[in-house]
Symmetry: C2
Subunit: 217 residues, 2 copies
């Protein structure tokens, strides 16, 4: 059913959606692929190709209806519903993510927090209580969790993933800087901040003078 869609297309759709929602707040109306592309830092053809993978949402000569398109993209991304999320790892990053308002705004509800440290277990975080990671299967089932955000130290990550996957979770947002092993049908997305800094380091070191003296023709 779903067409062959690349990861980059999905990332761009997510980007378009953020822009469309900002436009919606400012009144909506219509938008052209050129306009949307400009705001997203890509090209008009790319915008049209991305969208055309899922249907024909625009009107020739006119463009796209902002509110309508936002709804379509939300549907495509599966954001027309809420997701029940558990946070495993109640350290500094976990705590920052817990407070991160954009998650809830997008329908990702953190309904459970788990940690290994007895000093943290039992502490109240907003409306949820930090629970012992040893009980992870029970907690995930009780809360009907579908997505886990993993912010534990690297050496503990694989072990926890095995348990989480065993408990039926099929979506993981991984902050641990290791390659997780998961069976097919389980989706892992990595957030690796050190990797991004290293890419920056590479750019600054090697691409330093690639800047063209952009002469006009």
């Amino acid at each position: 059913m779903s067409p062959k869609v690349s990861d980059s297309t999905i990332r761009r759709l997510s980007h378009y959606l953020r822009i469309l929602e900002a436009m919606e707040r400012r009144g909506g109306g219509t938008v052209s692929s050129t306009h949307l592309a400009e705001a997203a830092g890509t090209t008009a053809a790319q915008v049209r190709k991305d969208l055309s993978l899922f249907g024909s949402f625009g009107k020739r000569g006119l463009g796209y209806q902002v509110a309508d398109l936002a709804g379509r993209v939300r549907d495509i991304l599966g954001l027309d519903r809420g997701w029940r999320v558990a946070l495993v790892g109640a350290g500094r990053i976990g705590s920052a993510l817990f407070e991160y308002r954009d998650f809830r705004r997008r329908g990702f509800h953190i309904v459970a927090v788990l940690d290994r440290d007895p000093a943290k277990v039992g502490v109240r975080w907003g409306e949820v209580m930090v629970e012992d990671v040893e009980t992870v299967e029970a907690v995930l089932e009780r809360e009907a969790v579908e997505v886990v955000i993993l912010t534990v130290p690297a050496p503990a990550a694989q072990q926890i993933v095995d348990r989480v996957v065993g408990a039926g979770v099929r979506g993981i947002l991984n902050f641990a800087p290791i390659q997780l092993r998961t069976p097919p049908g389980v989706f892992v997305h990595d957030v690796n901040m050190v990797m991004e800094l290293e890419a920056l380091s590479f750019d600054l070191t090697n691409r330093d003078f690639d800047v063209e003296r952009s002469g006009e023709g």
Copy 2:
């Protein structure tokens, strides 16, 4: 000088490096492309291609010397030196990143922290004092900052980037969920956690039953 290198290659090099350093700690020796690929979740041919873009680091029939290769990759990524980093935005995420040990371990030293909130300015964070973002140019120059980690709210981000770039910074790690506009020669890498969650949402919604009943040929 620098060959045409793709972003994915750089990300993989960063990944290889982490694996090589773990091997180094366990004694070093040699490693084959097959072995490295397995640990990194890629293919042997990919590993060899990636490395061959920068030189011939292995020995036919033998593989790569772990310690040597780690050093080469560090050089390629520009990690054979320290980087002076400023953190702009002393909110929850900023504070979590400030404490993030892996940054320092990799040679990224946070030498300044800035925020707009008067309640935060003047507060001591470890060895640095939070300073007023209004003085950003002076601080960046005083501390000879080369890279900025940006963790301010989206509406403030572009304005600060303009000032930071004006002050000569050419590397930005951006946590604000907007498309930053920068002149050529400035490198921006984005960390967008909501986008990753949305990609996960897409996977769970659309790629649900793509799992092949992996039959052996």
